[in-house]
């Protein structure tokens, strides 16, 4: 499945919730389900630092695809990270670099997209795309 297709799946899931509370309950659940990063990767090198919460992110490259793992100290942030990983993990570098991640704007969590809010979902996305660029450069050379 492409990132776009996975995004559509996520949009449909969120469309089932009328109430903001249910959306957040779902995010909390997703946060608790997130497959977390290895302890050895929970270090400054993998930290995306922000004013509100912290996120650790690692990426592995296998058979042309990138696999992400992450953790955060805040559960809602972890839930959002879980969605990003669901969309982007197991995709090719090209796919990750080029997909605009439209689903993020459509699931009704717009406030988490602002550059300074949370630790900036934007900086998470940026970091994931940077990993993709790095793997692409490394394996094409």
């Amino acid at each position: 499945m492409t990132i776009k297709e996975r995004g559509i799946e996520i949009i449909e899931e969120f469309a089932m919730f009328d109430d903001w509370m249910d959306k957040y309950n779902y995010l909390i659940e997703l946060g608790r389900d997130l497959e977390i990063i290895e302890d050895s990767h929970r270090d400054p090198q993998h930290l995306i630092s922000g004013c509100q919460s912290r996120v650790w992110l690692s990426a592995d490259y296998k058979d042309g695809l990138i696999y992400f793992k992450a953790d955060s100290d805040a559960v809602i942030t972890k839930g959002i990270v879980n969605l990003l990983i669901r969309a982007m993990s197991g995709q090719s570098p090209e796919e990750i670099i080029n997909d605009p991640l439209d689903f993020l704007a459509e699931i009704g969590l717009k406030e988490h997209l602002s550059p300074t809010r949370a630790n900036g979902l934007t900086s998470m996305v940026k970091q994931m795309k940077l990993y993709a660029f790095a793997f692409k450069a490394k394996h094409e050379s």
Partner: protein, 404 residues
């Protein structure tokens, strides 16, 4: 005080957030503006907008008069000796930078010491760090005890003939501690040091008389005292300001320019480059009138009562811990919920229509000291009510339920 009549002066308080009536408890970040401040600003633009000081035409005269009258209002409000001591800046942060550059240039030399405290806002840390780097001076820090009070005996032991400046907050934005600034000023003066007080969190909440305090420098921002954003005041004793060089240059701060030499305007204009924030100053004057009409003593009394009510209500919540329990506190309640990250809590509290601040409050050193990532902070103003506190309690309980 008639709280309903006060609330009715703030148009924004009747709006909804996330389909719920707004409860605004983020006054430490910025206060809302009463109609009279909003009107003063729009009236300025509707009737006398013009550049000040330079123009000979009628509107420029009117704008200059209104602008300078506002300066006198500020002077009287803070108890400064003359308008020469009232410098208009963009806000507290710019005021502190002005001091760090100008005072630092004239008075700080290699090996000199500057003292700040552990609970300062970044704006009262970083300018001093940079100054110390420029001048090879040394930054010393007054520690804070577990309640959030400054350790005054350590402060005294830090003072020496090397101490050139002590710069501390009047009120802590993160914990609400009211620092014993009268004692700090007295002790620092005995050691021969000058004192700057960061008054950003104090001016709207506690009476102020700079003459009585005998403080050398004092900074504050209009937007935390019901006035507009982007304007603040830097107070300095005239004898010191006279000895300090200009910081930024251009515009009104200049007396005469030739390519050989430039001479500078007299105080306070020496420190006011460029076109000033005229509408901001008129808004600030109006916010002072607002405070004076209510009476700052009355405001303090009402806020103290609400702080006591809020502290009692929040303390009763299981799993809630108040961070900062100083003996003397202004209207700030910073707290943590067991096992719930402040960001998670803030997100849910926001959806309940309650505006609180979460995070490190730009005071990372004190958060590191306590060993926490940040807090959830409710900060109270004169328009807040017991009902607001009750709504906060409800939002906290909802948060605990969702993360249980």
């Amino acid at each position: 005080m008639d709280i309903n009549s006060i609330r009715s002066q703030f148009p924004i308080l009747s709006r909804e957030v996330h389909k719920k009536p707004l409860v605004y408890l983020d006054n430490g970040a910025t206060t809302q503006k009463p109609q009279m401040v909003i009107d003063a600003i729009s009236n300025y633009y509707e009737t006398i907008n013009s550049n000040v000081h330079r123009g000979v035409h009628h509107l420029s005269q009117l704008a200059t008069d209104a602008f300078e009258k506002s300066r006198i209002t500020v002077q009287e409000f803070i108890g400064a000796n003359s308008i020469k001591e009232v410098i208009i800046t963009k806000g507290t942060t710019e005021s502190i930078n002005l001091l760090a550059y100008s005072f630092g240039d004239a008075f700080i030399h290699e090996g000199d010491e500057i003292i700040v405290s552990e609970l300062e806002h970044h704006a009262n840390i970083v300018p001093w760090q940079l100054l110390c780097q420029r001048k090879k001076a040394v930054l010393k820090v007054i520690p804070v005890n577990e309640k959030g009070d400054l350790e005054m005996d350590v402060f005294e032991s830090l003072l020496s003939e090397k101490t050139k400046l002590v710069s501390v907050a009047h009120v802590s934005n993160a914990l609400g501690t009211i620092n014993p600034i009268a004692t700090i000023i007295e002790k620092a003066h005995q050691a021969g040091a000058k004192v700057h007080i960061d008054g950003a969190q104090a001016v709207a909440h506690t009476p102020l008389n700079l003459k009585e305090l005998d403080v050398d420098f004092y900074s504050f921002s209009a937007h935390k005292m019901y006035g507009p954003m982007g304007i603040g005041i830097f107070f300095g004793k005239e004898e010191l300001l006279d000895q300090m060089p200009p910081w930024q240059s251009g515009g009104e701060m200049i007396d005469k320019v030739t390519f050989e030499k430039t001479t500078f305007n007299e105080l306070p204009y020496k420190f006011e480059p460029g076109t000033p924030n005229v509408d901001g100053m008129i808004g600030l004057e109006s916010s002072i009138h607002f405070l004076q009409t209510l009476g700052i003593e009355n405001i303090k009394k009402a806020e103290d009562e609400l702080l006591a009510y809020g502290t009692e209500k929040l303390s009763a919540i299981k799993g809630l811990k108040i961070i900062g329990t100083a003996d003397k506190k202004a209207s700030v309640i910073s707290f943590l919920l067991d096992n719930i990250h402040p960001f998670d809590a803030g997100t849910i509290i926001d959806h309940m229509g309650v505006a609180v601040r979460t995070g490190n409050h730009c005071a990372q050193p004190i958060m590191d000291k306590i060993g926490i990532p940040g807090t959830i902070r409710a900060s109270i103003s004169i328009y807040n009510t017991k009902e607001d506190i009750n709504r906060l309690v409800e939002a906290i309980e909802k948060t605990q339920e969702m993360f249980a």
